[in-house]
Chain length 345, copies 2
Amino acid sequence: MPTVYDVARLAGVSTATVSRVMRGSDLVRPVTRDRVLAVIEEVGFVPDASAQGLSRRRKEIIGLVGLERGVNETDIERDGLLFVDVVVHAVEAVLRGTDTSLLLSFGPSGEPFASRIRALSGKVDGLLVVEDALAPAQLRALARRLPVVSIAASPGDTGLDVLRVDNPGGMRAMAGHLTSDHGYRRLGFVGGPSDAPDAVERVAAFSAAVHRVPGATVDVVPGGDFSEASGRTAARVLLGREAIPEAVACANDQMAIGVMRELQRSGIAVPADVAVTGFDNVFPGRVVEPPLTTVGQPVRELGVRAAARLLERIEGNTEPPRAETLPTELVVRRSCGCPPADENP
Amino acid sequence: MPTVYDVARLAGVSTATVSRVMRGSDLVRPVTRDRVLAVIEEVGFVPDASAQGLSRRRKEIIGLVGLERGVNETDIERDGLLFVDVVVHAVEAVLRGTDTSLLLSFGPSGEPFASRIRALSGKVDGLLVVEDALAPAQLRALARRLPVVSIAASPGDTGLDVLRVDNPGGMRAMAGHLTSDHGYRRLGFVGGPSDAPDAVERVAAFSAAVHRVPGATVDVVPGGDFSEASGRTAARVLLGREAIPEAVACANDQMAIGVMRELQRSGIAVPADVAVTGFDNVFPGRVVEPPLTTVGQPVRELGVRAAARLLERIEGNTEPPRAETLPTELVVRRSCGCPPADENP
DNA sequence: GAAGGGGATGTAAGCGGTGTCAATGCCGGA
DNA sequence: TCCGGCATTGACACCGCTTACATCCCCTTC
């Protein structure tokens, strides 16, 4: 593995010159530069990032940490694109324009993961924290050591840069659509994991919105884990009630699909007998029958902005931290009882 | 940002002792260890990974590079879980048991990406290359500098460690099912991107298998890009033929779903009029109507084994490189014309 | 009581780059 | 001819951590 010293010796120059050539400095005579470049090419020299990182105090790496949800690891494989994967791709796309790389780590929340993250923090220039991968206190401790931007964290103010989507707004829009446009009064709601900030916000906002409608009630089934299977389970719970809701809103699309399929399996027509809605607007929701009415979130945009913000902070931007909330959007398809749209979205 | 020197000074010991405590060496007196640990805790010391990496010659980071497919970046968001995402999660899960982290980079194949990877190679101890992210020559050049394991690369032998799935076997099984079990003779095939090794293998194997059946023909529609939209396009092409195939196999599930939906939109019943099959066994295929008959691949296992292999190589295992092929499995549901199964998979 | 031994700790030399400052060489102008 | 100034290049300290080796101290052992 060749080093600057090897290159310097072979090119008959000093290491300083090799370094200058590598970094594209303009105070090297063209002929010298070419000679050095030739040697670099010849021996296949690639600078060691550790040495570089030590010397400049910059590693050109940012980290992204998120929760790995679900006991059954094959869920990931089966249940489709995770929120965090979209964020990862978005961040990576932003980084593509720089020479920073993305280091990532997922894990179940808890102390082992927290200490893994602490170790990881020594490898990066800044950190993106997705959802509540870290407790607020740990988050703040981290933020004292390096720039941290959090994505879709719980509402509570941490005094850090945060990017979120407007979950309550989306849920209010959905509740409004179901109660006003369709006139449903007996609503159901299938909740998500209580450690998912998004899930918590969603139940809360939906319930609150429904309760503001005179005569409307909502039957909340908690304990879902965002998987299709847990949607099916919730549907069975609902089927056991004396009165089945007219419409069931779910904390995410996967569960909504599970609910829909379980209802259909029991001979209940969706949306004729019971309407079902989701949240997230993921791909499978478009191809199920009936197509799922849901709430779309700008997940990719979330990742893009978070990455940009983190990069700024690393560059030394010291403005006070900002919380930014991106809008969500009601996506009306047919599972809520609306007529088929003409076009094929 | 505290360093070992700070900790050493505050604890009244030498940096060597601090280092020993950090690395859990047992030749430190318990009382000394505690004193050092207290200081570490107090000042929130986290060792700088660059310095560590430079000193031990190990960065505790491995890289994963893969292709970012599709011009339209929102495809990712819309079309569901990518192959590479599953691999990423699998690799990450393996790494969770170690103190190595995962660095990743996606990009469109080409020189800019190749040089990005070269730079990246200075930041890692080893590299996983997914599909043909790198040309064989570049791959070999990289492999001279550090351990490289390639995942799902094109068949040609590169003399490196490779993990693949048995695409041909899966496709032969599918062709057999369609021609023998169902007796179809006029087949269609919707191909994937020509730069995707998997896609190439799949067409080839399917065509070959069909051609071995007397009287059977296959109408190949090339140029798909693995997206649902391109499946729809392909379906329209097929609808334009004078004779529509009795069964259409597709190079992946997303396209199969597109084909199915476009056929249905034109009033053609699936599978009654035309059978449709996919490849990959992703989540959406289970929830469409009719459920998609497809071929399942052990993608997660692929990632797990590749990661394990790379870690071994980094540890210094110098056995000759091995190519390993994991079996695929025919997943029969209803889109091929088979009767509904009782249980709910 | 001196020598020997072993555990605990300190010293200091790298690891491979970067960047500062000094040195060198060459130029034109006085 | 001599000198200042600019363009290049070199020498070397330093970044923070690890580790081989040296040192020191306290016991045992004969």
